[in-house]
């Protein structure tokens, strides 16, 4: 606890100076001390609850059951934190399209599919997983619980004493106290996040992967948030403001200090982007489908276009078509038809692209072309779950 402010101070001092040459890279992790077991009533109690929760998780339909992908993600974690440490973690991939990963006190790591869709390389994934592992290594779960307990204990007393008093002054000072207790609770949460960021970057500096990727993760997230806000007609988000109840430091701050803490020599290392792309390929269409259902046009389009920086694939054209068709204005349908056509040009067997094309053309009034595309869809996948419905839109009802 004493060491923390000093280490943090180093990183933040580097921030304040604002010059990459003066910044000290995040320290390398201390040697691994071996598996730790919970100590004290609180920690043992939390582990037990956590063990029960992991037991339910292991049998949950939310878990993506693909041994290959799961062991790949576990492998990236091991590459970041080292083989001795990574044995403490059990990785579960959850089908949930938002950007998140967690690691709980007993070593259960939950990785959301939305995170896998957003990061672009092994180094970026390792940056996030290393951060989560930092929470685990610093026992942030149990410490956070103790801080919440301390805060609510004070508030409970203050509330009881204030409600027993009839004086306005006492009630007002209770309100002030309440704000300051909440304020320091949330500040504590943000300091935990900064500590985990620092630890995560320490792992990355010591690994074979490029530590500069950590900062890239946050830059990309900000890009997505901006794109999302633009399409919704909202103001450009402020990435450096801290809300009173924010649990994490602002993205802008994180992107800056993470870039300053990265070991400069590390920039020449590989980031494993090719390996990452190959591992994710079989799952990309499904992750994109789930992302599109979030109804976040700007964010989804940003993600698709960023994935397409490595070249447009039929799957990406198809996803973009689905995105535009889902929003469904007439102008969107014209674009969607165009994207589906590009997908079909690249892969003439992509059945769902014919369905999308057909449905878009029907709405655009190009009935004959639409029906032709739908017939091809039925030909290519006669057993599709929506085949019956599609047949109703095609005269003759069958593909002949």
């Amino acid at each position: 606890m004493i060491a923390k402010p000093i280490v943090l101070g180093l990183g933040l001092a580097a921030l304040a100076l604002g010059s990459p040459t003066l910044a000290a890279p995040a320290p390398l992790p201390a040697p691994y001390k071996g598996v730790y077991q919970p100590q004290g009533v609180d920690e043992i109690g939390m582990w037990r609850e956590d063990d029960e929760s992991e037991r339910r998780l292991a049998a949950s339909p939310l878990v993506l059951r693909d041994e290959k992908l799961t062991s790949y993600v576990k492998g990236v974690l091991c590459e970041a934190v080292g083989n001795d440490r990574c044995n403490a973690a059990r990785v579960y991939i959850l089908r949930e399209p938002s950007f998140n990963a967690t690691m709980s006190p007993n070593g259960t790591m939950r990785v959301y599919t939305g995170l896998l869709l957003r990061v672009r390389s092994e180094a970026e994934l390792a940056a996030v997983l290393g951060h989560e592992f930092g929470h685990f290594e610093h026992r942030h779960g149990v410490n956070g619980f103790k801080s919440a307990r301390g805060a609510t204990d004070v508030l409970a007393w203050a509330q009881v004493l204030a409600s027993m008093s009839s004086s306005y002054d006492v009630r007002r000072s209770y309100q002030n106290l309440e704000l300051s207790v909440y304020g320091s609770f949330f500040r504590y949460k943000r300091d935990q996040e900064r500590e985990a960021d620092l630890t995560g970057l320490g792992y990355l500096n010591a690994s074979q992967l490029q530590p500069q990727a950590a900062s890239a993760v946050w830059k990309n997230l900000m890009g997505e948030a901006e794109a999302s806000a633009r399409v919704r007609g909202l103001k450009k988000p402020n990435f450096n403001a801290i809300a009173f109840t924010a649990s994490h430091p602002p993205d802008g701050e994180r992107a800056t200090y993470l870039s300053e803490l990265a070991l400069p020599e590390g920039a020449s290392r590989g980031d494993g982007a090719d390996r990452y792309r190959a591992a994710l390929k079989p799952w990309l269409p499904q992750f994109l489908e789930e992302q599109i259902k979030l109804n976040d046009f700007g964010g989804s389009d940003y993600l698709i276009e960023r994935l397409a920086e490595d070249g447009w694939t039929p799957e990406l054209w198809f996803a973009r078509g689905e995105l535009f068709r889902t929003r469904g204005n007439q102008r969107d349908l014209a674009n969607a038809a165009d994207f589906y056509t590009k997908a079909i040009e690249a892969n003439s067997n992509l059945a769902p692209a014919y369905r999308g094309l057909g449905l878009s053309l029907l709405k655009l009034g190009r009935t004959a072309d639409g029906q032709k595309a739908l017939r091809t869809y039925l030909q290519l996948s006669p057993a599709a779950s929506d085949a019956g419905m599609i047949k109703l839109m095609v005269p003759g009802g069958t593909a002949q």
């Binding site: 009533v41 609180d42 043992i44 109690g45 939390m46 582990w47 037990r48 609850e49 029960e52 339910r56 292991a58 049998a59 949950s60 339909p61 998140n100 967690t102 709980s104 779960g141 956070g144 619980f145 919440a148 307990r149 805060a151 609510t152 204990d153 004070v154 508030l155 409970a156 007393w157 509330q159 009881v160 004493l161 409600s163 027993m164 609770f185 949460k189 109840t245 649990s247």
Partner: protein, 250 residues
């Protein structure tokens, strides 16, 4: 995300301090119409992994899980359950450990039972809040809830007649909470110390129908002690079909 849950817990903990008690016009148990289980009929009851959690309540009202108390409670409750069911003439069988798809099916049904029993408590036991189809004047004052026939394929189901689900959560007020309660009471402010919730439900393993449910937000008996656990299980089973437990106590 864990943080959001914690924040919610925090807000609730503070809000519950001065909150009012739940309305009292609430029923606590019900049996499916026409279901009878005469004593000494020698039925086999399959017990699924009971959800038991015991801990303390901090001064501010947070749940502080305690692993040792939980383990004691598990052992004690199981022993009392065996003993009382034996008195009724039923045999208690533990559901076998499940793997793969079986484990997922069990987990799904445990979650389903939790959801159904919550619905029963909310929409049937709380009389003023009954769903239209569960109202007396609708001639539907019947206890008709089901988990569906899928239960028949759960591991161990073919060897037993009924399935028993148990949920138990105990929070014992910490010293700090009790002192707070005392001081608050002197000032005329109500602070609750501790929470003791128990549910037990019996399910027909062939049809999945819920045969009996007992749910109580204020249970007695200290589950950390063998005698206390027996009191708790007696309370849980007091309206169990064919049970004479209630009469024993008089």
């Amino acid at each position: 995300m864990k943080f959001v849950l914690r924040l919610i817990a925090l807000v609730f903990a503070c809000a519950s301090l001065l909150g009012t008690q739940a309305a009292s016009a609430q029923e606590k148990s019900a049996t499916k119409e026409g279901f009878e289980l005469p004593a000494q009929s020698g039925k086999k009851i399959l017990v699924f992994r009971p959800a038991i959690s015991v801990g303390a309540q901090s001064t501010g009202g947070l749940f502080e899980p305690n692993a040792e108390w939980t383990e004691q409670a598990k052992t004690n409750i199981r022993a009392s359950l065996d003993k009382l069911q034996l008195q009724l003439g039923n045999a208690v069988v533990t559901a076998p450990e499940a793997y793969g798809d079986d484990a997922r099916a069990v987990e799904e049904h445990m979650a389903l039972f939790a959801a159904v029993s919550q619905a029963v408590i909310e929409y049937q036991f709380f009389v003023g809040n009954r769903l239209p189809t569960k109202k007396r004047d609708n001639k539907n004052d019947v206890f008709e809830w089901s988990l569906g026939p899928g239960v028949a394929s759960l591991p161990g189901a073919s060897q037993a007649d009924y399935g028993l689900f148990l949920y138990n959560k105990d929070q014992y007020g910490s010293t700090g909470r009790k002192v707070l309660q005392l001081v608050a009471a002197m000032g005329g402010v109500g602070v609750k110390s501790g929470e003791h919730i128990g549910y037990a439900g019996l399910v027909d393993l062939k049809t999945g129908d819920l045969l009996w449910l007992n749910a109580d937000g204020a249970m007695g008996g200290d589950v950390r002690e063998p005698e206390g656990s027996e009191k708790r299980v007696r309370q849980l089973l007091e309206d169990f079909p064919g049970s004479t437990i209630k009469d024993d106590q008089r």
